[in-house]
């Protein structure tokens, strides 16, 4: 709506502006007339000669110029061989109609194409044309075209664009686009400004700009090249002197010096070997018998023998290299000659880097929070069952998997992803709740006094469930597609962004935290659960039926696993093995957090989430290593807090 309004506004304004130009004194030249002045350059354009013609066109201010430039670029302009006039054509085949360039009226019908030449500017010319077009596009009534023009400028900054860009700022109706134009103009000034003062001012304005484009501008200003000299010349804008061995490897430094001076090469063992092999004579090389060449020193001796005879080039000895490194200096010089500009750019760059680092830290923290939410969802069910019953449920991961597959199956029946998600969440809870209760009744109930055997029995269930899922759904991953409104990411700036799915999972985790706290602290069931957790015998003697409580708790823990499964399935793949991917981390979360406490699990999930992301930050290429180090950390952590972050004390702890 707004766009239509702006376009209308622009249409009302633009003709008026153009009219203002037309009423300027002097004879108003016709487009065709200008073209005829530069007939040769336009009919047979070359990159070198087309400049004045385009300048004349652009400077004329005629309304038909942009359209002409575009058509010219797109090879839609024809020249009549007879008189050298330019036309657009209509129709195809042997004869076409000629259209006037300015009015678009038909000038001649049924003109044979033999007498017409299509103008085909080459790539270089087309680029020049499009640069000229930019200034027209910058004031185009269509906002998308203006935006495209800005993108084109940003892609390839050019000093010539500064004028048109500045000229279009005042007339820009869209505030966001106007801001962008100003920023782009600022980039151009920073890079190509006329005076040092203007550039420094522009650069200083960049100090608060952490966008990718802004950073690119600074880094382009700060571009350096590596030079080698005996002494750093006075006339270079020195960035820094490189110290061989610390700033760059000695071999590389020596190679650079060889480019600047005539120095012998450093030969690697295989190079020496190759040269020696070509000089074997009668079982000897350089006077040495072949048998003595099985050591490095023997080979060097033989090589030097050959070199003394002039049979092979001299090689650089360590002493040669040392001498060269001592007498030559390697330095980085800014391509930009003005040191005031580079100083300002460096200061701005430092400030931007600080901002970017802060942004990255914030981004990392967001990532960590979303990972922590996942671990929380995956582990909280486990924590509840472990806390209340002292039972480790190895099949917990498979309950997560069941939840995810529930989501997948629901999607097979309900096309609308939003609706299917709304159905899948409670259904997953119900199914895994039932599975949990069934497992508690059939298996776990009989093993309450044998915790290690519960671990093994539930592991048996886990093997069976995993294979069952494989038999039903196959081994390949199944998609669990998220609704459209969860696609994409919330982009805060070029550094910080977070996908909506992760936000949704975070919200889900918060919801469950709240729900669980409510159930545990405010309901009868919660009271009974806490009573059973702290002292089962006492609870039983007060009329609480521990059997029922344990069954309900186990169902609840499993049900949450089902919901976690749907959530995890939305962004990870749904496979029969997905449960085992999360089970160990879930155990870690519970162990680190402390048993039998929602806050403990939250703390554990947060610690593990942040830890994993933190380690990945230092070693981003290697998530395997990150997990390894994280587990090692946890093993050590248990040394200092064997009962986890939030520990129960005294008799309730059962010791």
């Amino acid at each position: 709506m707004l766009r239509v309004f702006l376009a209308a506004l622009l249409c009302a304004w633009l003709p008026a502006a153009l009219q203002a130009q037309e009423t300027a004194p002097g004879p108003a030249p016709d487009l065709q007339a200008i073209l005829q002045q530069h007939q040769a350059e336009i009919a047979k354009p070359s990159r070198r000669t087309v400049g004045p013609a385009i300048e004349a066109l652009a400077g004329s201010g005629l309304p038909g110029v942009p359209a002409f430039l575009e058509d010219w670029q797109n090879k839609e302009i024809y020249v009549r061989e007879a008189d050298g006039l330019f036309f657009r054509i209509d129709g195809s085949g042997d004869t076409v109609a000629l259209l006037d360039l300015t009015t678009g009226e038909t000038v001649a019908e049924d003109v044979p194409t033999d007498g017409l030449d299509q103008i085909k500017p080459n790539g270089g010319v087309r680029r020049v044309i499009s640069e000229a077009l930019v200034q027209f596009q910058l004031s185009d009534p269509d906002i998308d075209r203006r935006r495209d023009a800005l993108d084109a400028i940003a892609r390839n900054l050019d000093p010539d664009q500064l004028g048109p860009l500045r000229g279009s700022i005042a007339g820009e109706p869209d505030p966001a686009l106007r801001l962008r134009k100003e920023r782009l103009a600022n980039y151009l000034v920073a890079r190509f400004g006329d005076s040092t003062e203007a550039r420094v001012a522009a650069i200083e304005a960049l100090a608060t700009d952490s966008s990718v484009d802004g950073r690119a501008v600074l880094s382009q200003i700060l571009d350096t090249s590596v030079e080698v000299a005996q002494e750093v010349p006075d006339d270079v804008n020195l960035a820094r002197v490189l110290e061989p061995g610390t700033d760059l490897p000695r071999e590389e430094a020596y190679a650079l010096m060889r480019e600047a001076a005539d120095l012998p090469p450093v030969l690697d063992p295989s190079g020496i070997r190759g040269l020696l092999e070509t000089h074997v004579e009668g079982g000897k090389v350089g006077g040495l018998p072949i048998a003595r060449l099985a050591t490095r020193s023997g080979r060097l001796l033989a090589y030097d023998g050959l070199a003394a005879e002039g049979l092979v080039p001299e090689r650089a000895t360590p002493a040669t290299v040392d001498a060269a490194l001592a007498s030559w200096t390697i330095y980085e010089a800014y391509d930009e000659e003005d040191s005031a500009v580079t100083d300002a750019a460096r200061a701005a760059n430092d400030s931007v880097q600080t901002r970017v680092a802060a942004g990255q830290a914030a981004d990392l923290a967001l990532d960590a929070v979303s990972l922590a939410s996942i671990y929380f969802l995956a582990a909280i069910g486990l924590a509840i069952t472990f806390g209340v019953m002292g039972v480790i449920n190895m099949a917990h991961g498979e309950f997560i998997m069941m939840g995810a597959y529930t989501g997948y199956v629901v999607q097979l029946f309900i096309e609308n992803y939003t609706v299917s998600l709304v159905v899948a969440l409670p259904l997953a809870f119900a199914i895994t709740f039932a599975a949990g209760v069934a497992m508690e009744r059939l298996v776990i109930r009989w093993l309450y006094d044998r915790p290690l055997e519960t671990l093994l029995a539930t592991f048996g269930v886990s093997i069976a469930l995993q294979q069952l899922a494989k038999n039903i759904f196959g081994t390949q991953a199944r998609p669990l597609t998220s609704p459209g409104w969860l696609d994409g990411a919330w982009v805060i700036n070029d550094v910080i962004q977070i996908s909506y799915i992760r936000i949704a999972i975070f919200v889900l985790a918060l919801l469950f935290l709240g729900l669980l706290l409510f159930i545990l602290k405010r309901t009868r069931l919660g009271l009974e659960v806490r009573a059973v957790t702290q002292n089962p015998r006492m609870a039983a003697s007060m009329g609480i039926n521990p059997d029922r409580i344990k069954m309900m708790t186990f169902g609840l823990g499993s049900g949450i696993a089902g919901i976690a499964g749907v959530a995890i399935g939305l962004y990870a793949k749904v496979t029969s093995e997905m449960g085992s991917d999360y089970i160990v981390q879930s155990f870690m979360t519970v162990v680190v957090g402390g048993v039998g406490n929602v806050w403990g699990t939250l703390a554990g999930a947060t610690l593990i989430g942040f830890l994993q992301k933190g380690i990945e930050f230092f070693n981003p290429s290697n998530t395997l290593a990150a997990q390894t180090y994280m587990i090692l950390f946890i093993i050590l952590f248990i040394q200092f807090r064997p009962k986890g972050i939030v520990a129960l004390k005294g008799r309730a702890a059962g010791d």
Binding site: K649, G650, R651, A652
Partner: protein
């Protein structure tokens, strides 16, 4: 009689609850001492602290002739220093025979390699026979401990205590679940042990304590309420208040 164990100013609390509150206590060697107190007085925690199971928040515990501190020591080290404990609920290793139970308790080097390379000796076997005779389980040496009656398990545990040859014995409700005849025998044995060991008996049963005929310490709310002969403490109005009143 020299002091064997001295606790002073010991406190411990669980989640804000003060189980032991500035407790001071000492026992000599040899001495027989009974500790009584209502439920929750801290009797069990008191024993847990001495045996190293619970670390006190503050205070000090000195033990033995050289007055070593028990605070930093592990349970097993404290046991090796000569402090033996008999639990309220008999805890013997039910899957193992009476002989194995006694052999494990027998005073011998306790390191893993000592145990791995341990060879049965005649002296050891004789000692087991002797203890078994004393606790009336000579006939039952090869039976699994799990098959014994409750009273017999109590005896076996006392036997294990004896086999450790401790200097200080902590005995928690030794007569619980015993027949009158067995109680009689237990009383005799404790009195007998008290002649050359330091023995602390924790007991509920006043009658049993009276028959031990020894100094009595009354614990209440984690600290010592009264100390003296049984007649002295049972006459103390505070003790009467704690046991009967409120």
């Amino acid at each position: 009689m020299s002091t064997l164990l001295e606790m002073s100013g010991v406190s411990v609390s669980f989640d804000g609850f003060r189980a032991i509150n500035n407790l001071s206590f000492q026992i000599g060697e040899p001495e027989l001492r009974a500790i009584i107190g209502p439920n929750g007085a801290g009797k069990t925690t008191f024993m847990d602290i001495i045996t190293g199971k619970t670390k006190p928040d503050e205070g000090r515990i000195l033990y033995g002739d050289k007055g070593i501190s028990l605070l930093g020591l592990s349970e097993s080290r404290i046991a090796r220093e000569g402090i033996g404990r008999k639990f309220q609920k008999p805890t013997v290793f039910e899957a193992q025979s009476v002989r194995e139970n006694l052999a494990m308790a027998l005073k011998n080097p306790r390191g893993p390699f000592d145990v791995l390379l341990y060879r049965k000796t005649r002296a050891g076997a004789a000692r087991i026979e002797e203890i078994a005779a004393r606790i009336g389980l000579s006939e039952a040496l090869t039976r699994p401990a799990g098959e014994l009656s409750h009273g017999q398990k109590q005896w076996l545990e006392i036997g294990m205590l004896l086999a450790q040859e401790p200097r200080l014995l902590l005995v928690d409700e030794p007569a619980a679940g015993m027949t009158p005849a067995e109680r009689e025998k237990t009383t005799e044995m404790l009195v007998d042990l008290g002649r050359d060991h330091a023995v602390i008996v924790v007991e509920h049963d006043m009658e049993f304590v009276r028959r031990l005929n020894c100094k009595v310490t009354v614990l209440n709310e984690g600290s010592v309420l009264a100390e003296g002969s049984i007649d002295h403490v049972t006459g103390d109005p505070q003790v009467i208040e704690v046991y009967l009143g409120r």
